[in-house]
Symmetry: C2
Subunit: 298 residues, 2 copies
């Protein structure tokens, strides 16, 4: 039994128009035969948030919606809530406050049921707070801005569905470049992932595909240099040598090798292959350097 | 006779407090014996903009200020204006509209005098519009946002003091990540340089040093993959494999090798040297990969 796909959605996904992101979630959950558990624990809204998703998922063909909503860690041990997750083919976590969400679900039977759902092949996804909580190391809160600064972002612990990533959302719209760069500077082995509004990263094992209106931005800090250990206060941080990928809808990326894959339309396959390699590992770079040299002579 | 330093200032430099950036300009111009030509061609303000710089430079020890201000290409041929540049040890171009500035100075005797001043060793600098105009390929205008999009920025032709760069300013404050990434996607051989407010990139030949309150962000797109040739409309652009450097005050960078240099305080020199190499060229990466392997075994 292989793990199901994860949908990391950057918030404000279209619920009334083309519903591109939600339609994809519904399809992955099984379409007309899906049962989706909408988890609104993060939200400060009342049942209208659940009604909105019931309507949106209904419009893309899924009518079987359950809505377990534990509000405390005690409620997250309620067998009825756990059973709702166990019976679902898709688990969708709404936006709101990710610290509320992680505080209630992480390390509880409800959280364990979500992880089990992923492990048994169900699609698990979430938007905004429901996106952030999927990573092991989670952005709790922070300040906007493009330039990284030492005390710009606070990290906490998420559900851990995505252990090697740190996720940020509303990325373009709330100008969160700096805070994600700051977190990657602190922990360069974590791949920083910023997801724009109405956009999803669809992750199946190590394969990432982007769908939606905006882009998924990745910061690969494996070879970076920073001064997090010596910087002070709120001054700008050194973050040098970060490999950046801005991936629009249709892009595919290998999260293990950290290289772009063929997938975005419009290029000949062979050229795409070369490009994928060009941003790849060290060994690959060497091969490509030769190839580029050849090209430049023609 | 070697070329003088160039100061690329991201706008809104402090004129009344510590004046870190302007003090540096004044010092490079010769301090108490400097004569600075303040060029306010880009500005829509009256003489008060010149008065503000007269006061600010006065406060950091320079009292000899001239203010040639050609407003048309015809005026840019006026020998009196040219003589002001020829007699200056520093040329400072104010903010305003860079298309106004480039339209008046580029390809005129006044523009030639600025280039000659740089060539004879005078310091040439500018803020905001006066920063942008220094590059050969100049940002004319664009839209804000973190995610690159095909039609996000318009390029024009600048003075050409910095031929291998494309410069953007107010970078953090006006969220110009996306538009600079877009321009580098179009022309990957140009190094993208985004300068924050109250911050300067000081460039002497191929050596860059950062001073001021914010950071200088560099996009090195030499190995990037993009889809500028097939993307359409206002959709998000693919920009994969861009090497990113966010450099705060005190950082030094080699613009030729495109590597971080020792310079930021707080690290042992040998470690800094390794880090510089780590973000370096292909050959260097190979050496470093071995070194990193060794480190991971200890």
């Amino acid at each position: 039994m292989s793990s199901g796909p994860l949908l990391v959605i950057g918030g404000a996904e279209d619920k009334t128009g083309t519903r591109q992101v939600l339609a994809r979630f519904a399809k992955l959950a099984g379409g007309a035969s899906a049962r989706i558990a909408v988890v609104a624990t993060a939200s400060s809204l009342g049942d209208e948030i659940i009604d909105a998703y019931r309507e949106a998922f209904g419009a893309v063909g899924v009518s079987d919606i359950v809505a377990p909503r534990p509000r405390t860690r005690a409620e997250a041990a309620d067998p009825a809530h756990v059973a709702d997750i166990d019976g679902a083919t898709g688990v969708f976590m709404t936006g709101g406050n990710q610290s509320t969400l992680s505080g209630v679900v992480t390390g509880t039977p409800f959280g364990a049921a979500i992880k089990a759902a992923h492990a048994r092949g169900a699609v698990v996804g979430g938007t905004s707070a429901g996106a952030s909580v999927q990573s092991e190391h989670m952005v709790a809160f922070g300040r906007p801005g493009a330039t990284p600064k030492l005390r710009m972002a606070q990290m906490s612990a998420g559900l851990g569905l995505l252990p090697g990533l740190v996720i940020d959302q509303h990325f373009d719209q709330r100008n969160r470049y700096g805070r994600l760069l700051t977190l990657v500077s602190h922990a360069p082995h974590l791949l920083g992932m910023g997801v724009d509004e109405d956009t999803a990263a669809i992750i199946t094992d190590t394969h990432l595909e982007v769908t939606g209106r905006g882009a998924v931005t990745l910061f690969d800090g494996r070879w970076m240099t920073s001064n997090v250990d010596t910087a002070r206060g709120s001054s700008a941080l050194l973050a040098s040598g970060v490999i950046l990928h801005s991936l629009p809808s249709g892009s595919c990326f290998d999260l293990e090798a950290r290289v772009l894959l063929p997938g975005l339309g419009g290029r000949p396959d062979d050229l795409r292959e070369t490009h994928a390699v060009r941003t790849g590992t060290l060994e690959h770079r060497i091969d490509v350097e030769g190839a580029l040299g050849d090209q430049s002579r023609t």
